[in-house]
Symmetry: C2
Subunit: 456 residues, 2 copies
């Protein structure tokens, strides 16, 4: 058994249109004409790879957001974009979000297995159940399934896809030219899964992949989402404003994972962080203010009003947000509620004006936004990493490429000097970067168990 | 109105595992270890691009063929493979097969629209309905839908996806930084389609693509397939052994297209051709024989027996095939029947032994296999092209890269010297290569009609 490797920080680059700040597209540093340009994504990923980041990460949903009138809520589909990136990079991981509610397991298992093969073992899947009712209407569903029904399907979906990824046992591929045997049918196993929500009969037409299966990432912070994550996720992308909340979430997830018989170090907690970086803190705050001034208030009001379930357009932008608008949300049953709780916490603690609240949320949709010097950003990352709040971060640059350049040029070197972050990739796969084991193929395990019994 | 351009030959490269001959993987020229290697596909596509071919083409089905024990019936998913190829090529078209029976229109419309954007207008979709009952079981369906039901869904699927591709009218994208307007919501239109088999409500989250929509290719030769093709297809991939049959099909499709109000030159007929190429005809035939000798008879017998619906393993391989095994198939209701008719024709006309029949079918699954010198192959292509049997060909090399090299190095130059094939790309998109118009956006057309009426 090898010595346990020292705990190392994970850093992903979350690529999001022209940046995570909702007004990024209006900032002169961004180029709106490039959102369908493959070289735009390749250039960003290559910068992240040069900085030795673990992965690039894409959000996704099968629906056009109604805010597209004021926001670049469009772009190429993530899996194809990642295949494009894979073709021009060598090491960096490739994580795409995809929905268990609106895909079929056979199709999605193939897509991710293919990405893992084509990238030499760099694929990750951010599993979401998609909360948008508008998305349901794009798939002929009369009503959007509620969170419990969505997670029940997600559970079956993971069972089906992991069976498909295991369907080619080790030794199944032969390519024996002399005997004329391409594969050993005794080592190819049908998925043979029938659930309440879906069923898959046969084996995958893609052999077992370099990573065994893609890294399973999960982003749901609802109660159902947490339990699902503790069972399946190998990395969790989460949103916390304060270290206390992040620490509570961190220890809760690790505890639940242990209760499911998993090792705590095989589930990485990665909060989002959106850093405004300046050579002084004042300069960083000024940069943030520049972006906030570019926001379109109608856009923020519409999103926030939809969360609160009320029309906010009649309120005074420069008066404090009424406390009763965001009273405690009670139990967190889905992501809308968990986002609502984040907003409620800000309103309760900081008593912002409506305009201030819109600016707080404009940065990264509820994820923490930090303005500071490279040292201050590095300090924040180090504190959360060493104080039981995070295993790493999903870095969400406010604007692209501006915020990525600032992070890789100025923050990453500090983290490297402090010995917190790699200066070279040690392995070739995303599992290598994250320190995650290759899951054993269930048929290989069973065969080994039978062999041990037979020889006993 | 520009002068009509002279009729030009189309040539696609059909990429299929290690080659189209079923024993290609056993031939020493192929490398079985490369079937998941992205550089394998990129190298093949770059050779095709250097020869100025119109497109590369991938078959597909969401099922593992039971013949995988003797055949490389696996590989990376076509759309992701084409995104990989797109990243390393500049002009060649990219056609993927995908099934309307086993995909959802919103997901597939996004994938193809994204490929069209990422490739600068080179995407094509070979629409299939998938005849395999094993595939249905991979999607939780108790029974495989019959051909008429599959084509009824396909019809709705095309209606839904073309509405999605049209949902961003011309002028919808603004990126107006000064006004803070990303898009004009009055020019973004929900798909708003409800059929018997599927429904899609909203607009696509991908704007209109460089080609307006991907080129629609179709391969079904059944009666339902032909009618569907005459309505929707811009290119038809078809299988014919004899020029008389190809001519009858060609004129029938063009006539039906005209009856649907379409222009005959906007639907290209591309039969498959699998050429064994030698410096003499004898050498070419010897090469073909070498491949045939590498076939695994059990594999061919199992496939042919499944088509005939009988167990063929008890028959003498070297006795003539009994005529009653492949009596006339009657009406062509699906692709299995159309393939059956091809086999019946061979048995009736040529009275082969079972082994000879297996060898005939080993080449390209019912497509024409030709062994000859480069001049003879070029003659065949020219004859079919000039005698109303084809607008071009889907070239199916028996082995890859061997058969591709022979075709591009020796046959393409002859076709170029004869003035039948381009020596340089004239345009940048697949529609440019094929001489296909960009379909007008329905909303732009409607707006123009309203404008004309208002000003009348």
């Amino acid at each position: 058994m090898p010595a346990p490797r020292p705990r190392t920080l994970s850093l992903n680059l979350f690529l999001y249109h022209l940046g995570h700040h909702e007004a990024a597209w209006r900032h002169p540093s961004t180029d709106p004409s490039r959102i369908y340009d493959p070289t735009y994504y390749v250039e960003l990923a290559r910068k992240a790879e040069a900085a030795k980041l673990d992965a690039v990460f894409f959000a996704d949903g099968p629906v056009l957001h109604s805010g597209v009138d004021h926001n670049p809520a469009e772009g190429p589909e993530p899996l194809l974009t990642l295949a494009t990136i894979a073709a021009h990079t060598r090491r960096i991981g490739l994580v795409a979000t995809a929905s268990t509610t609106f895909y079929e397991p056979y199709n999605l298992a193939r897509l991710f297995a293919s990405l893992d093969h084509l990238s030499g073992g760099r694929a990750g899947w951010n599993v979401v159940t998609t909360q948008s009712a508008d998305a349901a209407a794009n798939f002929g569903l009369d009503a959007h399934p509620d969170p419990l029904a969505r997670y029940a399907r997600a559970e079956e979906f993971l069972e089906a896809t992991t069976r498909l990824w295991d369907s080619w046992e080790e030794g199944a591929a032969l390519a024996d030219r002399v005997q004329g045997r391409w594969a050993d049918p005794d080592r190819i196993h049908p998925a043979d899964f029938t659930g309440e929500h879906l069923a898959v009969a046969g084996a995958l037409n893609v052999r077992r992949t370099p990573q065994g299966r893609p890294v399973i990432v999960q982003a749901g912070a609802s109660n159902a989402g947490r339990d699902f994550a503790a069972r399946w996720a190998e990395a969790i992308f989460t949103a916390h404003q304060r270290i206390e909340d992040a620490q509570a979430f961190y220890s809760d997830v690790k505890r639940t994972a242990l209760a499911h018989g998993r090792s705590a170090d095989q589930i990485k907690i990665l909060p989002g962080i959106s850093p405004f970086i300046g050579s002084t803190e004042a300069e960083a705050r000024e940069l943030e203010a520049t972006f906030n001034e570019l926001t379109v208030p109608e856009y923020g009001l519409r999103n926030l009003g939809a969360q609160a379930g009320v029309d906010l357009t009649t309120l005074d932008l420069d008066a404090p947000v009424p406390l009763d608008l965001f009273a405690d949300a009670g139990d967190v049953t889905d992501n809308t509620r968990s986002r609502f709780q984040v907003v409620a916490g800000i309103v309760r603690r900081d008593r912002p004006t409506l305009r201030e609240l819109l600016h707080r949320l404009a940065g990264a949709r509820g994820h923490q936004v930090v303005a500071g010097t490279p040292e201050q950003i590095a300090d924040r990352i180090e504190t959360w990493f060493t104080q039981g709040a995070a295993d790493g971060f999903n870095v969400m640059p406010p604007a692209l490429p501006l915020g990525l350049d600032a992070f890789t040029d100025h923050v990453v070197p500090i983290l490297q000097r402090r010995g917190l972050f790699r200066t070279e990739y040690e392995g070739t796969t995303l599992r290598d970067h994250l320190g995650l084991e290759v899951p054993e193929n269930r048929w290989t395990r069973q065969r080994a168990a039978l062999g041990a019994r037979a020889s006993a």
